[in-house]
């Protein structure tokens, strides 16, 4: 396969970036997208040029670091996957592919395609946990919970923090990410106790970081690799309104 790549190159957060075009030949259609970038980087290193910086770790869709914008869509043209799960067979021989970092005022670029997602970490630190003392795992049957509730909480917990929701949202809103954690914990007996104070603190932090207003376009759900539902946002709003009325 032959591909023409337009890749965003930027030296630092403050430097001005620009697209650079590269042509790769003899690619295997079963290569993953990141393997294709590896091939490109090997060629660049051989030529003595600086390789393209991109985030990646697990390469199996669980760490959430590899997100980039591919031809104008988060994680590329296929729904429900991360960039590392995308393969060249999703493209045609001779295609031109534009690769940009996830963009939002809250996600500063570190270099090339690598962005700083620490704002997400600070939202979680603000309250995305339960403050019970840790210790060895308690007897499982001492807290009763139905299968459906456990499954539903697990669906919310599936968020891998990739940032595709923010990158896809025209408003750069982090509502899906933040609400996933809020409703994950609110659905479980252990997390329920602190639900109100948690939602207030996490939403406050989300605003402090400068994420936009959620306008319920639901684009986030459509592009989320883990299929996290927008109903988590509804539950976040519910918990928030409850905290407003009843106090945190």
């Amino acid at each position: 396969m032959k591909l023409k790549l337009n890749i965003w190159r930027q030296e630092s957060a403050t430097a001005k970036g620009a697209f650079k075009t590269y042509t790769l030949e003899n690619l295997e259609k079963d290569m993953s997208f990141l393997e294709m970038l590896d091939v490109l980087n090997e060629q660049l290193v051989t030529k003595g040029e600086r390789p393209v910086v991109f985030d990646h770790d697990c390469r199996e869709g669980i760490c959430g670091t590899c997100g980039v914008m591919i031809n104008g869509r988060a994680h590329g043209p296929i729904g429900g996957i991360t960039t590392c799960q995308l393969h060249l067979r999703s493209f045609n021989d001779g295609d031109e592919i534009t690769v940009e970092p996830f963009r939002a005022s809250t996600f500063p670029i570190i270099k090339d395609l690598k962005i700083n997602r620490s704002a997400f970490d600070r939202i979680i630190s603000a309250g995305g946990y339960i403050s019970a003392s840790t210790g060895s795992a308690p007897e499982a049957n001492s807290i009763l919970i139905t299968h459906d509730v456990a499954e539903s909480a697990f669906d919310s917990a599936a968020c891998i923090g990739c940032g595709a929701c923010v990158a896809t949202c025209k408003n750069g809103s982090a509502a899906l990410f933040t609400s996933a954690k809020i409703s994950h914990l609110a659905k479980l007996p252990q997390g329920r106790a602190e639900a109100r104070i948690r939602v207030v603190k996490m939403v406050e932090q989300m605003d402090k970081e400068g994420f936009g207003h959620c306008t319920n376009t639901e684009a986030c759900e459509a592009e989320c690799p883990m299929g996290v539902s927008v109903l988590n946002i509804a539950q976040m709003n519910w918990e928030y309104n409850k905290a407003l009325l009843l106090g945190a």
């Binding site: 869509r73 534009t98 963009r103 005022s105 990158a167 976040m236 709003n237």
Partner: protein, 230 residues
């Protein structure tokens, strides 16, 4: 000024839903315009007079003006803020992930706002602040004002186009507002989504048909001749 994003959203949702409730009452009142002229003129003018003299209505009306202004002001605040926080891409195909009207609420709202200004000038200002002609029963003849205005095809066009914009605004707005209030159970969300679509279509079509109907009735002779049906 409200600082928190969720509080701003809550304000948008509450004012928006209040306006939605008002639209139902407004449409029901306007249905009198479908009556034959002899009945409609007296009944509609009596209705208008009763409304403008009623204290309860006056209080609600103030709530209405405040809602429209607060809704529009915060719409601008939110839209500007979101423009800054959202990313821009050289190649952008994000539109496949959401319907166009959900991304165009500011634009649709602006069309509605311009319409509201025209609409207030057409009827509200004319009724309240001018010495308009009286009907045979001695009441301000709002009915004839409506008929005269919608004799002009351009006003019919302005009103119908605005109602289409409002229809799309509501198509996203109703479901969005209820989401902001926090309805999250799948069962109720489905009910709300269907109800939102039905509401939007019925309300905007209902308002849009009135100018068309009033235009057609007074031009029916001419139109029929034009179509050579007579």
């Amino acid at each position: 000024m409200i600082k928190l994003t969720l509080l701003r959203k809550l304000l948008m949702a509450l004012t928006g839903l209040f306006l939605c409730l008002f639209l139902v009452i407004h449409l029901l009142g306007n249905l009198q315009l479908f009556l034959p002229k002899e009945i409609a003129q007296e009944q509609f003018n009596a209705y208008s007079q009763a409304l403008s003299g009623n204290l309860f209505i006056k209080v609600v009306a103030i709530g209405l003006y405040v809602s429209i202004l607060a809704h529009a002001i915060y719409a601008v605040v939110i839209t500007i803020y979101n423009r800054k926080s959202g990313g821009k891409y050289a190649v952008d195909e994000r539109k496949v992930a959401s319907p166009w009207y959900s991304r165009s609420m500011g634009l649709l709202g602006t069309v509605i706002f311009v319409f509201i200004v025209i609409h207030f000038q057409n009827f509200w200002y004319y009724y309240k602040f001018t010495d308009m002609p009286l009907d045979p029963w001695g009441r301000k003849d709002l009915y004839s004002a409506v008929v005269n205005l919608f004799g002009n095809v351009w006003y019919v066009v302005i009103y119908v186009v605005s109602m289409v914009a409002m229809g799309y605004h509501l198509l996203h707005g109703v479901a969005s507002a209820v989401r902001t209030l926090g309805v999250y159970h799948q069962k109720y969300v489905r009910v709300v989504n269907v109800a939102g679509v039905v509401y939007s279509v019925v309300i905007s079509a209902g308002f849009a048909i009135i100018p068309i109907y009033v235009y057609l009735v007074q031009h029916q002779e001419r139109l029929l001749t034009l179509l050579q049906l007579k």
